[in-house]
C-alpha cells in the first residue's frame, strides 16, 4: 500500500524523550510544580500530535491508511539494511492515542500524588522515558525497532518499580520484574533469530512489518528439529509476550511490582506496558494466522491465566494486589481473544481495560493517599462518606469491569466471549464466563471493604483536584469508551470467525450480564453480613492454598533460585573450581614439581663419592654405546 511521509510522526515519541532529558538533567533544581508541568506537557504535546496524525490518517482513503516517517539508517551491513522508521496505521493509531492520552492524565494525577517526594523530578523523568519507549514500541515499523522499545519499557519498569530504592524489598521487586521479563525476552530474541535466519536463507533481509507480511508465507513449510518453524517462532515470540504481559508462567513479577508508586502501577501495569504483548501478537497477525496451533496455545494460556488471576484475586487483602491479579486476569482475556483469532476484539478490550483499570488504580491511589499510606483493605471501610468523588469514579469503573451494560467493559468482554464461543471452544468460553463472575465478585468485594461498612481504620480526606480531575476524565471514558467502534476501525485484524445466529448471540450477552450481576450480589451477600468468616472455615485448606497464591512463587524459588545456587556452589565452585582447577591443576602441578624436586635433591648430597659414582655410571654408559657402534 502506498505510504505517505508524515514528518510530524517522529515527535510523538521524541517530545517525551526531551522531557526526560530536561527533567533528568536539571529537574532537581526546578521547583516541583515546574518539573511536573514539563513532564505532563511533554506527554500532552505528544497526545496532540497523535490526534493530528490520526486525523490525517482517516482522511486518507481506506486501504491506503499508512503514514511513515523515516529517521535514519541504523545498520547497513552487506545485505542487511535496517533503518529506524515509524509506521502509523490504524492499529498504531489506537495504541498511540491510548498510550499518550492515558499517560497524560496519569502524569497530571502524579503531580498531586507524588507531591513532597524527594525524587519528584526523577519520577517524572523516568515516566517520560517510559512513554518514549512505549511509543517507539507501538510506532516501530520493524520487529527490531519494536524490540528496542520492548526492552526499553522493561528497563523503565524496573526503574519505576524500584523507585523508592532505599527500601530493600521495593528494590528487589524491581529486580524480580526485570529478571522475569528477561526470561521472556530471551524467548523473543531466539524467535527473532530463527525468523531472521530462515528469511535470510531465502535471501530476504528486510524486516519491517510490510515486507514480513509478504514474505512470511515463504517459510511456512520450514521445520526445525521436526517442529514447524513458524509454530516455533510464534511460540517463542509469545513467550516474550507472556513475560511482558504477565501471563502464566511469567506473571509472578506483577503482584510484586505493586511496590512502586500507584500511578506507576496504573500506567505501566494496567494500561500500557502489559499490553505490549497483545500489541505484538496483533502486529504479527499474519504469522499467527498461518499457524493455528500456536493460536490454540495462546488461547489456552490466556484462559488459564485469566482463571488463575481471578482465583487468587478473590482472597487478597492488599487493595493493590487485588488490582494486580485483576490485571493478570484481564490480560488473559485479551490473549483469549487473540487466540480465538479475533485480534481486533483483543485490542478493543485493551483500550477499555486501560480506562477502567487506570481509574481503579488511581482511585485506589487516592484512597491510599487519603489514608496516608494504608493499603490493607481490612483496615479500611466506610469511606463512602469521606471520599465522595473517589467513590463515584471507582463505582463507575467497578460497573465497567464487571461487564454491566452500557459501560465500556461490557462491550469488549462480551465481544471476546462471543468470538471464543464462535470459534467452537465451548469449554474455554465457559471458563471465561465463570471468570467474569469471579471478576465481578472480587472487585465488588474491594468496593465493599473499602467504601461500605463501618470504619475499621482512620478517616480519610478527599484528594486534591489535580488528582480528581484526571480521574473524572477517565471515568467518563469508562462510560463512553464502549461506543468507540474500534472493531470496525481495525477490521483488518478482525480475523475470520464463524458466524453465530442472532439468537445465540443474545443468549451469550444475557449470560455475560447475568454472570456480572451474580458476582456483584454474591459479593455483597458475603461481605456485608460477615458470612465471609464462615466460608473461610468451611473451605479452610483450599482457602489457604489460594491465599498463598498457589505457592507459585515458592515453587519458582525452589526450582530456579535454590537449585542453580546449590549447583553453582557445591558442584561448580567447590568441585570444579576449587577442587579440580585450583587444587588439582594449579596447586597440583606445583606440588608435583616440588615433590620431584625433593626427590632429585637427594642427588646433591655434597658427597664427592656419590658424584663419582654417577660419573662412573656415565662413563660406563658411554663406553657401552661406543662398543655397540664399533663391534
Amino acid at each position: 500500500m502506498e505510504t505517505n511521509i508524515y514528518s510530524l510522526l517522529k515527535w510523538i515519541p521524541f517530545v517525551p524523550l526531551m522531557g526526560f532529558i530536561v527533567n533528568g538533567l536539571i529537574g532537581r533544581k526546578l521547583p516541583e510544580k515546574l518539573a511536573g508541568i514539563i513532564g505532563s506537557s511533554a506527554i500532552g504535546i505528544s497526545f496532540i500530535i497523535s490526534i493530528l496524525s490520526f486525523l490525517k490518517l482517516i482522511n486518507l482513503p481506506e486501504g491506503e491508511r499508512l503514514l511513515n516517517d523515516r529517521l535514519y539508517t541504523w545498520i547497513a551491513s552487506g545485505n542487511l539494511n535496517i533503518s529506524i522508521s515509524l509506521h502509523f496505521d490504524a492499529l498504531s493509531a489506537v495504541m498511540a492515542l491510548v498510550v499518550s492520552g492515558v499517560s497524560f492524565l496519569i502524569h497530571v494525577y502524579s503531580i498531586g500524588y507524588m507531591a513532597g517526594d524527594k525524587g519528584f523530578s526523577r519520577y517524572f523523568a523516568y515516566l517520560n522515558l517510559f512513554v518514549f519507549f512505549m511509543l517507539i514500541l507501538v510506532l516501530a515499523d520493524s520487529l527490531l525497532i519494536m524490540f528496542v522499545g520492548w526492552e526499553g519499557v522493561g528497563l523503565c519498569s524496573y526503574l519505576l518499580i524500584g523507585f523508592w530504592y532505599e527500601d530493600n524489598e521495593k528494590a528487589s521487586a524491581g529486580k524480580k520484574a526485570f529478571i522475569v521479563n528477561r526470561v521472556g525476552d530471551a524467548g523473543f530474541i531466539i524467535g527473532l533469530i530463527l525468523l531472521f535466519y530462515l528469511l535470510g536463507n531465502k535471501g530476504i533481509f528486510a524486516f519491517d512489518f510490510q515486507s514480513l507480511s509478504h514474505h512470511i508465507p515463504l517459510i511456512a513449510g520450514e521445520s526445525f528439529f521436526g517442529i514447524n518453524a513458524l509454530f516455533l517462532i510464534g511460540l517463542l515470540l509469545f513467550l516474550g509476550a507472556t513475560g511482558k504481559s504477565a501471563q502464566f508462567p511469567l506473571y509472578v513479577w506483577l503482584p510484586d511490582a505493586m511496590a512502586g508508586p500507584t500511578p506507576v502501577s496504573a500506567l505501566i501495569h494496567a494500561a500500557t506496558m502489559v499490553t505490549a504483548g497483545v500489541y505484538m501478537l496483533t502486529r504479527m497477525y499474519f504469522l499467527y494466522e498461518l499457524v493455528p496451533s500456536a493460536l490454540s496455545v495462546v488461547l489456552a494460556v490466556g484462559c488459564f491465566t485469566a482463571v488463575l488471576g481471578a482465583t487468587i484475586g478473590l482472597l487478597q487483602t492488599d487493595i493493590k494486589k487485588v488490582l494486580a491479579y485483576s490485571t493478570i486476569s484481564q490480560i488473559g482475556y485479551m490473549f483469549m481473544a487473540v487466540g480465538a483469532g479475533a485480534f481486533a476484539a483483543g485490542v478493543f478490550h485493551l483500550m477499555t481495560h486501560a480506562f477502567f483499570k487506570a481509574v481503579l488504580f488511581l482511585g485506589a491511589g487516592s484512597v491510599i493517599h487519603g489514608l496516608h499510606g494504608e493499603q490493607d483493605m481490612r483496615k479500611m471501610g466506610g469511606l463512602r462518606a469521606d471520599m465522595k468523588w473517589t467513590f463515584l469514579v471507582m463505582g463507575l469503573a467497578w460497573l465497567a469491569i464487571s461487564g454491566i451494560p452500557p459501560f465500556a467493559g461490557f462491550f469488549s468482554k462480551d465481544m471476546i466471549l462471543e468470538s471464543v464461543f464462535a470459534g467452537g471452544n465451548k469449554i474455554i468460553w465457559f471458563a471465561g464466563l465463570i471468570t467474569a463472575a469471579m471478576t465481578a465478585y472480587y472487585i465488588s468485594r474491594l468496593i465493599v471493604l473499602t467504601f461500605f461498612g463501618e470504619k475499621r481504620g482512620h478517616s480519610a480526606h478527599e484528594s486534591p483536584a489535580v488528582m480528581t480531575i484526571p480521574l473524572g476524565i477517565l471515568a467518563v471514558l469508562c462510560i463512553a469508551g464502549g461506543f468507540i467502534d474500534i472493531p470496525h476501525f481495525l477490521e483488518k485484524w478482525e480475523g475470520s470467525h464463524h458466524e453465530i445466529s442472532k439468537g445465540t448471540e443474545d443468549l451469550l450477552i444475557g449470560l455475560s450480564v447475568f454472570a456480572g450481576i451474580a458476582g456483584i450480589t454474591f459479593a455483597f451477600f458475603i461481605q456485608k453480613s460477615g458470612r465471609a468468616e464462615r466460608v473461610k472455615e468451611t473451605l479452610s485448606s483450599v482457602y489457604t492454598v489460594i491465599l498463598n497464591k498457589f505457592y507459585v512463587d515458592e515453587i519458582y524459588d525452589y526450582l530456579f533460585v535454590r537449585t542453580p545456587r546449590w549447583f553453582s556452589d557445591k558442584i561448580c565452585f567447590r568441585f570444579f573450581d576449587a577442587g579440580i582447577i585450583d587444587g588439582g591443576i594449579v596447586n597440583g602441578s606445583a606440588r608435583i614439581v616440588y615433590n620431584i624436586g625433593s626427590i632429585l635433591r637427594r642427588l646433591q648430597s655434597g658427597n664427592a663419592q656419590s658424584y663419582a659414582l654417577i660419573f662412573v655410571a656415565g662413563v660406563v654408559m658411554i663406553i657401552y654405546f661406543v662398543l655397540k657402534r664399533f663391534i
Binding site: R601, Q604, S605, G606, N607, A608, Q609, A612, L613, V616
Partner: protein, 99 residues
C-alpha cells in the same frame, strides 16, 4: 712377542682404582686412588705407544707425570685445609655443598 696383557693390566688397575675411590672414606686415601688411576692411564699410554710405534705416547706420559705431581700437591694442600676447617677427614662429613 706380542701380548695384550699390559693393556688389560692397565684396565684392571684402573677399575680397582674406581672401586676404591667409591668405597673409601678418607680423603688422603682417595687421593691415593686417584694416583693409582693416573698410573694405570700411564701404563695404557706406554703400551699403546709400543703397539703403534709412535713415541708420542711416552711424551704424553711425561706430561701426565707432571700433572699428577701438581695435582697431588694441590690436593693434599686442600686436604690439610679441610682438616683445619672441619676437623675431620671423613668424606661423609664433608658435605657443605649439599643442596
Amino acid at each position: 712377542m706380542l701380548t695384550q696383557v699390559p693393556l688389560f693390566l692397565s684396565f684392571v688397575l684402573f677399575g680397582i682404582g674406581v672401586i676404591g675411590f667409591l668405597l673409601r672414606r678418607n680423603i688422603i686415601i682417595l687421593l691415593m686412588f686417584i694416583e693409582l688411576m693416573l698410573n694405570a692411564a700411564n701404563l695404557a699410554f706406554v703400551s699403546l705407544s709400543k703397539t703403534i710405534g709412535d713415541m708420542s705416547g711416552q711424551v704424553y706420559v711425561m706430561f701426565i707425570f707432571a700433572i699428577a705431581a701438581a695435582e697431588a700437591g694441590v690436593g693434599l694442600a686442600i686436604a690439610i685445609l679441610i682438616y683445619r676447617q672441619l676437623k675431620t677427614t671423613d668424606v661423609d662429613k664433608i658435605n657443605n655443598l649439599r643442596g
